[in-house]
Amino acid sequence: MKWGVVVFPGSNDDQDALHCLREVLGQEAVALWHKSPDLQGADAVILPGGFSYGDYLRCGALARFSPVMQSVRTFAERGGVVLGICNGFQILCEAGLLPGALIRNRSLTFVCERVLLRVENAESRLTRLCREGELLEIPIKHGEGCYFADEVMLSALEANGQVLFRYADASGAVTSEANPNGSLRNIAGIRNARGNVFGMMPHPEHAAESLLGGEDGLKLFRALLSPEREAAQPTAAVPPRRTIASRS
């Protein structure tokens, strides 16, 4: 399996994503400079964290028009797996490949800390190695990570099982104290309706080695490693989350 990590001017976590994929997971991974529409045969594409285009105008507002993004859009429309991390999540929302938007943290401060994520939906391709209710400790570092969508959109996301992670406390409770940035409904990560495009504000690539503080992020990348290429999912709702399945 080949991974492509898009690099925009101002991206900075592309190196960490490539390190995680190559050094930790032993994967073939290439950097994809934003100016080229060539995805170099990647089977999965990552939009990494950073400050693409200096966050000018709005985070991700300019990056979404880079030449590579038209290819990413086509790739996603054909069912290809795309994971947007932090700035990558912002870019996917600006591009309309994910619903909603990320705005300034409610505290107005840049937050740099480890948070706990409660896995809300363990049926998605990104979370299928997790259990529903499992807590993952993953770092965040952002000033504009507050997830926003209007009530209609939020209800649809919830009903469709598109919310993948929420900020939670150590007991798994989804509280405002556990919410580092004011995200509505403590939403930290989502998927699109079809289930092939993912966005999350926390950085799983920074939780890939115990030497550096933890490995909870690894199972997300591993979940995408599956060799079987799933047929394109219909845009219907995700199967009920209470399916009985043994995962080990």
Binding site: R58, P99, R104, F148
Partner: protein
């Protein structure tokens, strides 16, 4: 041709910056301030020769495609008097 573009947060979108500014105004003694919302102001200078209706249509497209994120922002714009004529 100069176009003034105003981009503001939609009603219902959290604006902690606006709240912080309102609080600062209060502590400066401006107790009559009920609310502050903070947006963006842009000046877009267009080449001469565009008709007004065409300019409006094009600026609207610019706002919808780039200048405003309509999930969280509203926009409006006004075409200013052509500065070159005032001499």
């Amino acid at each position: 041709m100069l176009v003034r573009v105003y981009v503001t947060p939609k009603r219902g979108v959290l604006d902690p910056q606006g709240k912080a500014v309102a609080q600062s105004l209060h502590s400066l003694g401006f107790s009559e301030v009920a609310d502050v919302r903070i947006g963006k102001y842009m000046e877009v200078k267009l080449d001469e020769g565009l008709s007004r209706p065409r300019a409006e249509a094009r600026v609207r497209e610019m706002c919808e495609q780039l200048l405003a994120n309509q999930v969280i922002e509203d926009f409006r714009f006004e075409i200013a008097e052509d500065g070159a004529r005032r001499r």
